[in-house]
Symmetry: C2
Subunit: 296 residues, 2 copies
């Protein structure tokens, strides 16, 4: 009967058609992230993009990501950590009973301050299946990075770091952007110099200013400064993580980002295993399997 797996995020919409064994038969994407969908138009956009895949009577679709937020198609709940696959299955938000469901997000609490993810939970469960690593640190770099701890296949807790968004607003809207080529390819030396600078104990608010003064004194070029700032931010992020004793971390995301994290983690003596979109599809397949088990 197969599965239509959909990852509907803030700025993009992606889907894959899988067979019963979880193999990807076909993928597609559309520039219709939830911010580009007018209120009430989610069913129409879904039909226009995935209508052909949903034609068979027994077709089944799982949607993860920001489509389950207040601003999305329908608000799905947040499941509280620790959380495993069967819990997500019990909390599916059905758009059409036994046919189209939105996967709940996860929430965690840090001393009265909540944390949230939507979509990454499916990628994490997929990565557990694909790597066979049931306990460890799973990191999903993006606009709002997630650092999740997994124990025996359950997500026991996680933290968000706004590293991607900080890079975007600083390079586009702060004084740092004026002397920086924000979209320059990675300059490894400048990047690692930034990672090292982040560890000087002076804090991000000071260290970011180095990307201004190194430009003023012409010590780094505009393309290199972009890598330097990226290194300062990622180095700052890593400093706060529980890396002690971690030998290998599972990185899930786009290669442009995972490459940087792998490089920076090397300087902390931590190895990495990297996955991309396949983690999303594997996670949806695992959820689908758990759905069938729950019903039988």
């Amino acid at each position: 009967m197969g599965l239509v797996a959909v990852d509907w995020g803030t700025s993009s919409l992606r889907g894959a058609r899988l067979d019963d064994a979880g193999r990807v038969l076909e993928e597609k994407s559309a520039p219709q992230g939830i911010l580009a969908v007018p209120a009430g138009q989610f069913p129409a956009v879904f039909d226009s993009v995935f209508g052909d895949w949903m034609r068979p009577a027994d077709s089944f679709c799982l949607i993860s990501g920001m489509a389950g937020s207040q601003q999305g198609w329908a608000e799905a709940p947040y499941e509280t950590c620790p959380a495993d696959l069967p819990q997500l299955v019990r909390r599916l938000h059905w758009i059409e009973k036994d046919r189209i469901a939105i996967v709940p997000g996860l929430t965690d609490d840090h001393g009265g301050v909540p944390d949230v993810m939507r979509g990454e939970e499916v990628q994490i469960f997929g990565a557990v299946k694909l790597t066979g690593i049931a306990s460890g640190l799973f990191v999903l770099p993006g606009t709002h990075n997630k650092w999740a701890t997994v124990e025996n296949g359950r997500v026991t807790g996680f933290r968000t770091c706004m590293t991607g968004e900080f890079y975007a607003v600083l390079s586009q809207h702060s004084i740092l952007g004026r002397t920086m080529q924000a979209d320059a390819p990675l300059d490894e030396e400048a990047f690692l110099r930034g990672v090292a600078a982040a560890d000087n104990g002076e804090g991000l608010l000071h260290n970011a200013f180095g990307a201004r003064t190194l430009a003023l004194f012409k010590r780094l070029s505009a393309p290199a400064l972009a890598s330097y700032l990226s290194g300062v931010l990622i180095g700052e992020e890593l400093r706060a993580q529980p890396l002690k004793g971690a030998e290998q971390i599972v990185l899930i995301g786009a290669p442009a980002l995972t490459t940087r994290y792998a490089l920076a983690l090397q300087t902390f003596g931590v190895g990495t295993r990297t996955l991309g979109a396949e983690a999303t599809w594997a996670g949806a397949h695992a959820l689908r399997t758990a759905c069938l088990q729950a019903r039988s």
Copy 2:
């Protein structure tokens, strides 16, 4: 003969006319920061704003701030720390010999990464005169905050923190701004909650996200969230400073900012003494006095 003291910054132009004893006779300001002055138009803008004060043949003017930068009237040098008043006098950049000069900025080096200030050095020397505190920590909150160490009247070193600019870009351009009333008046409780959160060891990139989730879960109102984010940023800044053993810090700046720093520093057990624009005028007067001493 008196003195015309001018503080010409990125976004504002302020001046004061002082008598020989350093008393302020008159102040004025204009919305003509250096970003609003077309190339080549600095003399004309200066004449239009301060021409009447400069009419007497023996009038004397000292200009500090970004007017001395590459994008300003004329590039004044940076004096290297440690630096005192006589050093600044020797490095004055004369626009008109013995009549109009731009005060040099200061630079410091942190492991190969330079740091810079322009304008704050005059405020610091003025604060030393006004308070009689010749050794201590002098803090100038603003877009790019300066933390300067003064020993026996010399600035021995300093660091910049981009706290003000981080607040501006995060509240105006990041997702945090969507649920926040960035210009709300200070909510002390929310502010101090942010200051405390900054000390949890998780880092700014994570803690800033609390201003998103506390909104999502409706635990803080839009006005309170602005104070919370401000507290997270200022708390992060204070964490990295050499506050151990500091009993009193001299704060120089606008009351809207110095109030927040005084509040946050209280939680670290550090007292404050606060100065405003008078520090600039007192610093210019001290420089003028050092000029006369150097000539005689």
